[in-house]
């Protein structure tokens, strides 16, 4: 099984020709994945624009690279050309202090609300030993930089019963219609990328796993794939099959949970309970294979850490046999419920051309009829050796996105069965040895349950990476979610959020603007009740 070689073109360009180059690539059918910035010391600030060509040219990637002056980093925004660069450029503004000229909304997205006081030292930080526990509520409520219209403001979060994670969504509502919605992220910012630069490759694998608990195999797999690409290591066949099996098992449990959460957020708690009940079967399989229910730690650099024995594959096959009955039954029950279908149908419509333009990925794109799937567009692990196809729906609404997830779950079960059969007959070699990492850089992409995942790893020949940049699926899809929320009914917001299924833990790994007629509302949202 020969993996098609990853074709990566890195082109260095001048900062002032950026806009033309970007629009040129977009006309050729490219999709902008991400924009990252790295402070390279004397060379200035390196800004990378990542492009891929999806099904036009499989496994083809382009990086446009430009260097900015460290003293005065100014760059022209490409957000007016393509909205796909919106959040990435806001990240540049925030973390590297780059001035992005012409950005429509250059506000902070990730930094803490009191970042100015924390980082400029206006507020004395309490010494950890003298003032250990501070349980008093803050004297003055924190102000956020979310601009709202002079209308009724409805906050969601940071702690809201509808979210498992903390994040802060604020909506300006006129009657029952949402006029403006904005998101404040960063509640889970743990500085993982910075930690990766400080630790060696073997430890980074575990750090990558803890970017997100739901799609942890995909994160560690993407990191391992990029390191293997740097070291030019051929991964054994059994390891490739085992990785595919793990990814698909993870997709099944993630999709089942997200389908259940749709039920929970639209008022069908029983649906969540049934979904978790079925999901537990998959969790058992994962526990048998890896010894852990959630973080598996099974991916190693060059292969997998532990063997998957015949007993284990038999166990998985027996569980899959049970699930082959219970999962379609559960999906039929969901789809025969008129109330649920009525709440999802024709809600949150993302037209095909809009999805293409805004760079939607994952089930969101496939629910709008786009055939975007990294497993086919740029195959990794052993996806070329198993029989499967991309699942698409043409409904463009919440229902279509959920149907995509349902059919993908069934497809994943089909892939798992094939993997189990093929693992039994594969040669027993588990991992290739990664000896030395030469200087170089590479990217790797994989298809996490929520969409495409990008890892950019640069090695400088030492035991730690020079830098790592991660683009997670929610980074793109959460912005599309905000677009969908604009102008919809307030009651449809939970349905839209759950159908896009944002994962903020992934996204947060990483100047107050005040308009004339707009006001800033204090954050009084804590402990919001349903």
């Amino acid at each position: 099984m020969s993996k098609p070689h990853l074709n990566l073109i890195i082109r260095e360009i001048k900062a002032d020709t950026l806009g033309e180059e970007v629009s040129d690539l977009l006309e050729k059918g490219a999709r902008m994945i991400y924009t990252s910035g790295v402070d390279m010391g004397v060379r200035g600030i390196q800004v990378n624009y990542y492009f891929c060509f999806d099904h036009h040219e499989p496994s083809q990637h382009t990086i446009l690279r430009t260097y900015l002056d460290r003293k005065n980093p100014v760059i022209h925004s490409v957000t007016p050309v393509t909205s796909q660069a919106d959040w990435s450029e806001r990240e540049l503004i925030e973390f590297l202090g780059i001035t992005v000229e012409g950005h429509p909304n250059p506000t902070h997205l990730w930094l803490p609300l009191d970042w100015k006081e924390i980082y400029t030292g206006e507020k004395p930080v309490a010494h950890p030993d003298t003032e250990r526990i501070n349980t008093a509520p803050p004297v003055k409520p924190l102000k956020d930089n979310i601009v709202t219209l002079p209308l009724t403001t409805i906050p969601y979060g940071p702690y809201h019963p509808a979210f498992i994670e903390s994040n802060y969504l604020k909506m300006s509502v006129e009657d029952e219609v949402v006029r403006k919605a904005d998101l404040k992220l960063g509640f889970n910012h743990r500085g993982i990328i910075k930690l990766m630069e400080r630790r060696d490759y073997y430890k980074d694998l575990f750090l990558a796993e803890r970017v997100c608990g739901i799609c942890n195999t995909h994160h560690s797999l993407s990191f391992a794939m990029s390191v293997e690409d740097l070291a030019a290591v051929e991964v054994p066949q059994k390891a490739q099959m085992a990785r595919t099996l793990l990814c698909e098992m993870e997709r099944i449990q993630s999709h089942l949970l997200s389908i259940g959460l749709i039920g929970d957020l639209t008022g069908f708690r029983t649906m969540l309970m049934h979904a978790i009940r079925i999901r537990e079967e998959m969790q058992d399989c994962l526990e048998v294979v890896s010894g852990q229910r959630v973080t598996h730690g099974l991916i190693a650099l060059g292969g997998i850490r532990r063997d998957i024995t015949e007993n284990q594959t038999d166990f998985i096959l027996s569980k899959l046999k049970i699930m082959k009955k219970s999962v379609p039954q559960f999906f039929d029950q969901c789809q025969s419920n008129d109330v649920l279908m009525g709440r999802l149908k024709d809600v949150g419509i993302l037209k095909r051309e809009n999805a293409l333009k805004s760079g939607a990925i994952g089930p969101v794109a496939r629910g709008s009829g786009l055939r975007i799937d990294v497993r086919k567009n740029s195959p990794f692990a052993a996806y070329e050796d198993v029989d499967w196809d991309i699942v698409t729906e043409n409904g463009c609404d919440c229902l279509a996105r959920i149907k995509v997830k349902m059919r993908e779950t069934l497809m994943s079960m089909h892939i798992c069965e094939q993997c189990c059969d093929k693992i039994k007959i594969a040669p027993s070699s588990l991992a290739a040895k990664v000896n030395e990492l030469p200087c170089g850089e590479t990217i790797s992409r994989s298809e996490a349950p929520r969409g495409e995942l990008l890892y950019h790893v640069v090695s400088n020949g030492t035991n730690t990476p020079a830098f790592v940049r991660i683009r997670v699926p929610t980074f793109i899809n959460a912005r599309i979610m905000l677009e969908l929320i604009h102008g919809c009914w307030l009651a449809d917001v939970p349905a839209i959020i759950s159908s896009v299924d944002p994962c903020y833990s992934c996204t947060d790994r990483v100047t107050i603007f005040k308009g004339k007629e707009q006001s800033i509302v204090d954050m009084r949202s804590l402990g919001g009740r349903r």
Binding site: G213, I214, M273, D508, R529
Partner: protein, 141 residues
């Protein structure tokens, strides 16, 4: 207070605070409500507001951004209250502990008082149930 404590011991209400974890622990807490583990059979209920909670279940290494909110959630919870730190991150910041980590304010212990720690990355649902039962005993003292 002792009468109140005995009531709480029979059916504590729990508020789950997600303080910047990777979601691993939070998924296991969702699994706690599932038909298999079913925490409600022990009288435990997950509530939507800290104002009616007895126990706070805190997950994650507490980033700087979340710190003021965690403090405020703790202040909003009525007495008597107990705090459980769930997961390796909640106990000690786990994998994120580093001198140079600019965005972590935790562990939870450093910000609010913690009664019971449940280690594990993530702990299994059985372990979390055990931790909740242990904190229920703490309402006596």
């Amino acid at each position: 207070m002792s009468l109140l404590n005995s009531f709480i011991k029979q059916s504590p209400w729990i508020y789950h605070v997600h303080a910047g974890g990777c979601l691993g622990c939070d998924i296991e807490i969702v699994a706690l409500m599932s038909p298999r583990y079913d925490l409600e059979r022990l009288g435990v209920k997950f509530v939507a507001s800290p104002r009616c909670a007895d126990i706070l279940l805190v997950t994650g290494p507490v980033p700087l951004h979340t710190k003021p909110f965690l403090e405020r959630v703790y202040a909003q919870t009525p007495e008597p209250k107990r705090v459980i730190a769930v997961g390796a991150c909640g106990c000690s910041c786990g994998i994120f502990i580093d001198n140079e980590n600019y965005s972590i304010a935790g562990p939870v212990e450093k910000i609010i008082p913690v009664d019971v720690k449940i280690p594990g990355c993530p702990p299994k649902p059985e372990t979390i149930i055990d931790g909740i039962l242990k904190v229920m005993r703490k309402f006596d003292s």
